[in-house]
Every structure is written in structure tokens, then in C-alpha cells.
Symmetry: C2
Subunit: 489 residues, 2 copies
Amino acid sequence: MGSFDVIVLGGGSAGEWVSKGLAGAGRSVALVEALRVGGECPYVACMPSKSMLRSARVRHLVSRAAGLGALSTRPDADDADLAFAAAIRRRDILAGHRDDTGAAKGVEQTGVTLLRGQGRLTRPGAMIVTDAQGNETEHTWTDLVISTGSTPVRPGIKGLDTVATWTSDQALSSPHRPASLAVLGGGPVGCELAQAYGRFGARVTLVEAADRLLAREEPSISALLARSLAADGIDLRLGTEVTRATPDGSGARLTLSPSSGSGGAPGNGLAGTSNGGPAKGAERTITVDQVLTAVGRAPATSGIGLEAVGVTPDQTGGLETDQRCRVVGHDHIWAAGDVTGIAPFTHTANYQARVITANLTGTSATADYRAIPRTVYTDPPVASVGLTQDEAQDAGMEVITAGMDLGETARSASEGETAGRLLLVADRRRGTLVGAAAIGAHADEWIGEATIAIRADVALVVLADVVHAFPTFSEVYEPPLRELAALVT
Amino acid sequence: MGSFDVIVLGGGSAGEWVSKGLAGAGRSVALVEALRVGGECPYVACMPSKSMLRSARVRHLVSRAAGLGALSTRPDADDADLAFAAAIRRRDILAGHRDDTGAAKGVEQTGVTLLRGQGRLTRPGAMIVTDAQGNETEHTWTDLVISTGSTPVRPGIKGLDTVATWTSDQALSSPHRPASLAVLGGGPVGCELAQAYGRFGARVTLVEAADRLLAREEPSISALLARSLAADGIDLRLGTEVTRATPDGSGARLTLSPSSGSGGAPGNGLAGTSNGGPAKGAERTITVDQVLTAVGRAPATSGIGLEAVGVTPDQTGGLETDQRCRVVGHDHIWAAGDVTGIAPFTHTANYQARVITANLTGTSATADYRAIPRTVYTDPPVASVGLTQDEAQDAGMEVITAGMDLGETARSASEGETAGRLLLVADRRRGTLVGAAAIGAHADEWIGEATIAIRADVALVVLADVVHAFPTFSEVYEPPLRELAALVT
């Protein structure tokens, strides 16, 4: 039994930040977490993923080293299993072997009371925490921060329960490299894991119901990513659904059909190449050692007793928050991270955590979501921020756009990294940038320029006068910005 | 004999841009160039340099591939000479084999009259061009653009004329890899070439009179670069001068002495390591196969008849220009590029060329030099923009600074690239950023954020609210920006 100024429910990125920040400011804080302090990101998501992608990227670069003038001959391909074992060893070190001892200690050292267990709200101002032994303890709070994160959506495929499936957590903690892998879902996680496993020799089939990868990004960016993944040997089945799964030895046999939701004919998303998917209306089966489901995540709001405090999730299961990150209609209930359904990234969680921390320590702060970057850490990476063309149209803006292929920059030649494109979206009436979408070498780093430009409302005429170092990839901003500036002057 | 609206003297980056731009706008334009259209950058400077640095960087990464989880074992080191030959083949392709045929055609296709030869002003409105055969032709101009670039400064070392020396042009066009190389000068060019040759197995000694590398950058950045070059096996002799050169076989013997201009004791710039240079007051000699001079460049203003039009270069030999890029005191004489002595980079030349083109085609334009990035393409790269702490102090600002080690970002761990630092310089009174200095992976790309922030005068409180994608290197901006914002609110 404890009485706290603030109870933080869920110890992922958001919960860790906000509890440490509040404790540091002298508030009495409890952090409730049943699994790991730090959440998924450090142990079974971002960090192991970025580690494997780094290993995969370097492996790919080694295969190109002679062409890049680094070696006289292509090195002998070493054993993919041994190399994968090296990648896994590195991954597991970076993921702290999925042990949160250090993170837990870090939280407690700032004065946070760490309550290990499942939290459930029982009435306004109270929560029961059930520990691993089933012991229940009630604690009280003045303010509540809900940061319970999200859980993977399980696709509704007939027979899927009868075969071995991974979620991304398992794909990022398993020591096993399947010889063949079906990735269900062409979003950020599906694309990243398809490439990571593919570059270590797994035969990867990626199945996506929409007719392109990264369905919420600009189509031109999706098309270039599809081209890159196909060049890695990944078999892309776009506009395609898995309609049935049956066991096949220790693996699975999947029946693929044209997607009912797909606008066009199924294909591999590569303009001008032959259709790699099943013919329209036809079924086809593939057999794989392992199935990975990556069809999205949903806010984790069930089973935490929200009804006891009068909070109702929205249709997606998320908690609607105001600008100050308070749950709408509740002065003392706050929410941060994936559970809000807003831009579900670690950086959004951390941002919201800072906003809440400020608001609970006497500084009024609001969250501005106009410029939250969205990044996919494939090679080349995808990075976007702000609105797409369609979203800007829908918002009633006078939309103007300009773009450029990364291959037109001098740096792309000297690096030997020519694939990529930048597309800029602006509002002609306001004369400012409202969106940017990019794919290409280090786009994850140079998207920051667009982020600042959008967040700070920098005028296009000023942006067009910004000088970029020669030769950098970021020079790709210059011609499109001059083009847009000319349209508003 | 020709009569032109504009004669552009010097066909480097600036001259190429401005002549094409003006011809495209319907002006009659002649471009006068004795050597190569495109100048040095594409053939013997930026492009071959960035190509060699890319090859060297990939070669280094291959040696780290097992540690990065990409291979199971370190690949056998291949023959350095054969690998260097591969790098040179790639370099020469990227440098177009130093053949400007394509660039010349590109210029002429826009309607520019290309005059191959040495240009010399004879009176206001006239220039004589002397071709390779010695034939002289007079041409007249209404406006003159001087874009003659710069030439390497030859260090005044006793006996240097008696030994084999390279300038950077030669180091970047030679097929030869010396077994040992003395690099005289620790500026951007010296550091880049020391690393490029060093990573292909040359034994490199870098001699710099100042007590640190990149003397105009922040000392903390210089120190980290010194650490990286030393880790590559480069023997750094800082605070050291070459006082004499004598032939030694086909190579050279150099006498090194503590630099008279150096503030402190000579050393290798690595705090906490033993002094790698000669003892104070002591002489020491080194013997090398090749000497590379890289002690700087000076504006190329002699021998072009400036006196005939009443233009006098300043003390450094440069042409003083106004905001519109006109030579001060001359309404129809313009200057762009290294010859102006302002931020001598290709991107400055191109920027000034655009300003001149606008001014000569009816749009008044001014150049803003507050945020011209300065980049050194070593591994890790160095990138800075705006003012250093000292420059901001000298400008009378109320200087506040904040910095962070790149190794504190999550991405530095997942990439295995932990060396680096960002230092931000702000003016507390105005509440804006005025300078940024960085070293670290992809700093050349993420410096763009600081560039926009400085150029667009974005308030620190807004910058501190900008969200960066997790995990990127650019997250290194966040804690220092929040620190600075807290000081102005």
C-alpha cells in the first residue's frame, strides 16, 4: 500500500522518462511494470532491430567492397549461419540480453518506487498491482500517467494458430535463422525484418494486402523501397493476402490470394517489371520454415480497469489526449506513447513524456505533432515528416510539390549510393513546407532539415537560400526548394 | 573578337554555373578557361577526394565487419597495392579521367561561347584571351565576372624545391601509392588525404605548425579528429614545422622542429597520451617517399590584368565583394568563388554564382554568409557552420554553449560508431543559435539542421521542441538545445 503524487502505469520509454523526470523534480512517483523497465524498444524492438540491420548493411557493403574500390577482389562469402550467429551475439549484447536490471536500478536511483506487476485501476485515485505471485496491493495516486504501449495485432488468418509464428519481438530475440521466412505485412517492421533476414541468406517472401509497401507514405517512396528490397532477393507479394495456413513439417504452407482490399492487380510494386504475385483471382501456395506477423500494433488499453475511472478508449483502442497530453475530459489522467495512437514511435513517447513532466512540475507545455519524423531503417532508409500530398489536399491547402532523385547529387556518385528520392510538399498560400518524404542514403539523418523547417514554419524563400555542403546527400533539397520558392514569390 | 554582355573569367564551379545561368536567360556570354571547364572540383579535388575517401572508409569497415556482426571472421587482408589500384580505377572514372569534354559541351549547349585560353584584362570593358598557341584575341564585355579560383600556397621550406612534392591535385590524380608520405598541413585537405592514403597502407606523417588540426574549428573537435587519425596509424606532428628538406633517393628527408608559431609544446594533439613530436627545442628528421604540401590556398588574382580595370586585391590577394557579389567600387565587375576569399568551398562558389546570375537577370539578390557549412570528409567527418565560441565572443554576443558526446546517442551504439561530439553556440540576448561544430558519423548530413536554424534565425525555444527520429545520430541535438533554451527563458 502506497500513496503517490503520480502513478505511471507502464514502464516503456514514455513511462521511464516521465517517472524519472517527476521523481527528479521531487514528486513521489511509482512506476508499474509487469515485464521489463524500458519496455520493448531496448530489448526486443528498436535496438536489436537496428543492430541486425547494421550487421546486414555492413554484410551487404562487404559484398560490394571491390566495386567500391576498397578491396581488389570480392571476399569469399563466409558461412551465412556463422555470420548470423555473429550478428545475433552483437544484437544480444546491444539488447542487454533482454535483462532490465540496469534500467530498473536507474529508475529506482532517481527515487521512483518500482512496482513489479500488473496494474489495474479500481476507482478514481486507486490502483491494484498484482505481482508475479498473485499478491495484490492497492496504491493511490493524485495524477495517473497511462503509458501501457501497444500490442501486435494478430492477423485473422484461418489456420494461423496451427503453425509456428513469430511476432517482431520473437524475430528480434530468436537465435534462429530460418532458411525461409514469410513476412506478413509490408509496413516499417515487416520491411526492416525482411531485409535483415534476407541479407543473411534467408529466402524471404513478403506478403502485403495493399498494393504497395508503407501504405501511408508517398507512392513514389514505396516504389523505390520495393525496388531495393527486390534487389536484395526478397519475393514481394503485394496486393496479396494469406487466406489459409497449414502446418508443413515444422514450417507452414500458406495459401495466397489476390487481396480483396487491393485497388489494383497484385504485383511486386515494381513498375515496369513482370508481376511477381499470383494472377488475379488465382490462388497459389508457398511453403516456409517460419511465419512472421507484422501487420500492425494496437494501443494496449484492455485489462487495466479504465472503466473504473471513466475513461473510454476511442475506436482504435487508443486514448484521446489534449495538447497537454491529458486524457480528454480527465484533469488528472495523462497518457503518453503508443497508447495514445499518435505517431507510435519511441521519439513520440519520449516527447509526450517530456510534455507531461513539464505540466506536472509547474511548466505549462503543449505537444506539437506537425513535424514528428517517421523513419524506416532499411537500406536505403525511408524518412518522412509532416503531411503527404494527399493529406495536405485533404487539409484544404493549396498544395505544391517538387522533388528530385538522389542520384542527381554528386555525393550519390562518389558514395556509389544512387537510389533515392526526395519529395517536398508545400502550402502555396502560407509559403511554407508542410511535408517531406525521402528514401536514400542517410535520409534518416538529413530529414531533420525538413523537420525543423516544418516545425518552425520557415518560409520557403528562406529555405531556398540555405546553402548545403558540397558534396552531401542533403544537396538534394536545393533544386526542389528553389522550385517551390519560385512558385510563392 | 567578340562582344559579350558578360565575360566570365575562370570556368570552375562558379564560372560554369553563372555562365550557363546567364546564357539560359538569353544573355550573350563568354566563358574564358585555360585548363578544364568545371575547374578543379570534379577532376582533381572534391570528386576524386570523396571517391578515395569512400573507398578508404569501406576498406576500414571491412576490417571491422566481424565485430559489427556482418561476417564470422575478419576477411584476409588483400594486397594493399592491388586494392589501391581498384580505388584509383574508381576514382578516375568518377573524375571523368580528368577530361572536360562533357562539361565543355554542356556549357556550349546552353549557348555560352567557350574561349579556351588565358584571359587578361586590358582596359575597362575589354579582355585579351591568349590561346595555347599564343594567339591573342580581344573581346569586350559589359559585365565581367571574375571566378579565377585559388592556387595552392607553396610553403617556404629550405630545400623543398630539391625533393619530389605533390600538391593535392597531384595526390588526387596520381596512380602511385607511396610507401610513406609526409603531409605538410593539418587543414581539411591535409587531414582527408592523410586518412585516404593511410588506410591504404601508406605510412603517413602529418606535420602541422599549429598545435592542433583544423585550427579554425573548435579545439574539442580538433582533438577528436586527431584521436581518429591517430587510431588510423597516422603519425601526427603538431606544433611542428619542417625547417629543411633534402633529397633521399627518390624521396625526401625532412628536418622537423618545434613550431615557432605554436602556443604550446609540440605534440600529437591527443590529451593524455605521450608526446609524439620532437622534444621542445629539439630537431628530428623523418624520411619519406613522397611529400604532399597542403598548407592552404590563395585567391588567384595575379596575371589577369586587374590593374587595367582599377581593381586592387586585398591583403590576402582576394577581391572584396559587396552583398550582391559585386567587386566593391565597381558596378559591372562581379566575383564568385575562392577568388573572393569567402568560405572557399564549391558550395559557396555555386551560391555566389546564383546570386550574380539573379542580379544580372533582373532579380536583386544578396548573399548571406552566416550559415555556410564547412565540412571535412574524414571518417568520422567534421562539419561546422556559423561562428565558433571565440568568434561569437569577438562579435560581442552574450555567448552560451552546450554540447554532447555522440556516444550518448542510442544510434552510436547500434551502429558501432561512438566517436563524436556536437557543440552548439548561441547568443543569449537574441535567443538563437549562431554556430555549431560537430564531428561524428554522418555529421556532414545532420549539420544541415544547424544550418537552417542559424540561417532562418529559429528561436532556441522552438528548436528545443523539435523531435528527432529515434534512433538517429541527430538526436544529439536535443539535450544541448534544451539546455540552451532553458537559459533564454
